[in-house]
């Protein structure tokens, strides 16, 4: 039984009068593939932001590899190995695809003296299938390539946990398969992945475990087939 690398306990996040997260408990073990689903507005992105450090939760604890990371700013969390991609891709538009990767390589990982950052970047681009576009400007990429770049940037940080935030939204079937293959391959590198998605086919294929978030509360957490059949989960998705 591997130890949990991420432990979220009792996390509460409020925006003025609105409670986005209402006491969420959530854990991920090393190398695990977890799906996180829920209707729009249920708090999935808020949870991601609290875990990644771009938002601060008002109550509750977040532990990464046993360490309480509450006071850690986002840039410190990624250095610990906690990476995330953005739902709407945020490339560094003035830089090429390769240069985009150099930023996390230089800042989120420790290299030795004289390391060849460009070579490492090429390696990652090969992994995600963007190698041909290494010198293209990142602002002009297609949707699926931008999603790949998002994930590549997260992977460049050599993370132990990667949170993929709706990387497949709006993509075609074959593009979804592309991204899915990419994410599946991360397990071989020992990277735990939290996949937030609405594309159920991909979630079912990918996840060893599924957690369901509705209105800021986790209403189910366990075996994918079992979770998807629970009455509360079905009710939450009625009308979707």
């Amino acid at each position: 039984m591997s130890a949990a690398i991420l432990e979220v306990s009792g996390v509460v996040k409020r925006f003025g009068g609105f409670t986005a997260l209402d006491g969420v408990d959530f854990a991920v073990t090393a190398g695990e593939r977890v799906g996180l689903i829920g209707p729009n507005g249920s708090g999935k992105s808020t949870l991601v932001n609290c875990i990644a450090g771009t938002l601060r939760n008002e109550e509750g604890r977040i532990r990464f590899e046993g360490r309480d990371i509450h006071s850690y700013p986002a840039h410190r969390r990624i250095r610990l190995g906690l990476a995330r991609s953005f739902q709407i891709p945020k490339p560094f538009a003035s830089m090429s695809v390769l240069e985009n990767l150099c930023v996390p390589l230089l800042y989120a990982t420790k290299g030795g003296e004289g390391r060849r950052v460009a070579d490492e970047a090429h390696g990652i681009l090969r992994q995600v299938g963007l190698h041909e576009k290494a010198h293209a400007m990142s602002g002009g990429l297609t949707q699926v390539d931008m999603r790949k770049l998002e994930l590549a940037r997260a992977m460049a940080a050599k993370p132990k946990l990667l949170i993929s935030d709706e990387a497949m939204a709006g993509l075609s079937t074959s593009e979804v398969d592309d991204i899915l293959e990419l994410l599946m391959g991360l397990k071989a590198q020992g990277v735990a992945v939290i996949m937030i998605e609405h594309v159920m086919r991909a979630v079912m294929k990918f996840s060893e475990r599924i957690a369901v978030l509705v209105a800021g509360r986790k209403i189910a957490d366990g075996d994918p087939q079992a979770v998807v059949g629970t009455p509360e989960v079905v009710k939450a998705y009625l009308g979707e």
Partner: protein, 316 residues
């Protein structure tokens, strides 16, 4: 070109300019060149925080003036040597940048911009009300009668000092630009949140950028009291500094160290001509109009045109 080689070239060019100036018969050259060089330093300095990091500083005049007024204070207190005054002014301005950055760079860029404007006014009010540095009446800072290094007039020395300062500013800017820090700053400029989530310590880098930028702008101001042997707040905090330090990098190109240099030389020279032939109010109007035209129609400036032209050529 490596940093060391660029520095060597920059200083070699500076020394060449310094030496060649002694062959120029027209004394007006020195007074005009002094102003243009001032702008080279200001534009280059502004661009470190502006173009590289994406944070607009409307208060360049505050940093420039604090460099100038620290010279006035040291002059009144000890008649300190010029080099000491330059270093001191640069450090004080750097501290100001550090302070302003620390207070306001946690917030959105627009708040920093407004705060920088606020800073200029607050500082101006302080200086106007402080008699030790002359207040609103101004202060006299007399050029020493003995001109060092056997130069014919003191303005020649000021010119040479500025040429060297400009070289320093360009070397600093380029070194930052090509370094890891420069990449981090560019990431902050392109998308600060994504940069933070890529491991870039955004607050630390922004404060660094503001400190260096402020220090160099202060450096530009340290010799200013000697220029006219007199200084008063409305000229030290002049509007021309605020608008030019933004317009010159914008027009020249904000992405690299060359843009501010081009913008400053071009725009600075044009302004010297207009000022002499028409008036200083028209001069400022032209700068303002050019600023608006460039920012709406050619936001990447002259270097942007050069880059686009190069890309088109390589595609053929």
């Amino acid at each position: 070109m490596s940093n060391r080689n660029f520095a060597i070239v920059a200083f070699a060019v500076a020394i060449a300019f310094a030496a060649a100036s002694q062959l120029v018969p027209n004394e007006y050259f020195f007074t005009a060149a002094y102003v243009v060089l001032q702008f080279v330093i200001l534009a280059t300095a502004w661009n470190i925080l502006g173009g590289y990091t994406g944070y607009v500083n409307f208060g360049s005049a505050a940093f420039f003036a604090i460099g100038a007024y620290s010279t006035v204070m040291l002059y009144n207190a000890f008649k300190a040597p010029l080099l000491v005054m330059i270093v001191a002014g640069t450090l004080v301005a750097g501290l100001l940048g550090l302070g302003l950055g620390y207070l306001t760079l946690r917030l959105r860029g627009v708040f920093f911009a407004i705060a920088s404007l606020a800073l200029a006014v607050v500082l101006y009010t302080f200086v106007v009300n402080w008699d030790y540095v002359g207040g609103a009446r101004g202060a006299y800072v007399l050029q020493p009668r003995e001109v060092p290094f056997g130069l014919p007039r003191y303005i020649h020395l000021l010119y040479i000092v500025l040429v060297l300062e400009a070289a320093v500013a360009l070397v600093v800017a380029r070194t930052i630009e090509k370094s890891t820090i420069g990449r981090g700053l560019a990431a902050i400029r392109d998308d600060e949140l994504a940069a933070e989530c890529s491991g870039v310590p955004t607050l630390r880098l922004k404060i660094f950028s503001a400190t260096v930028s402020g220090a160099l702008m202060g450096m530009a101001g340290t010799t200013f009291p000697f220029y006219l042997s007199y200084i008063e707040p409305s000229s030290a905090f002049g509007l021309s500094y605020a608008v030019n330090s933004i317009a010159m990098p914008l027009i020249g190109g904000m992405m690299s160290w060359i843009g501010p240099l081009i913008g400053a030389v071009l725009l600075g020279t044009v302004q010297q001509l207009v000022q002499v032939t028409i008036s200083s109010a028209w001069n400022l109007l032209i700068v303002g109009v050019l600023l608006v035209l460039f920012v709406t129609l050619a936001p990447n400036g002259i270097m942007g045109w050069v880059e686009a032209w190069r890309k088109r050529r390589s595609r053929r």
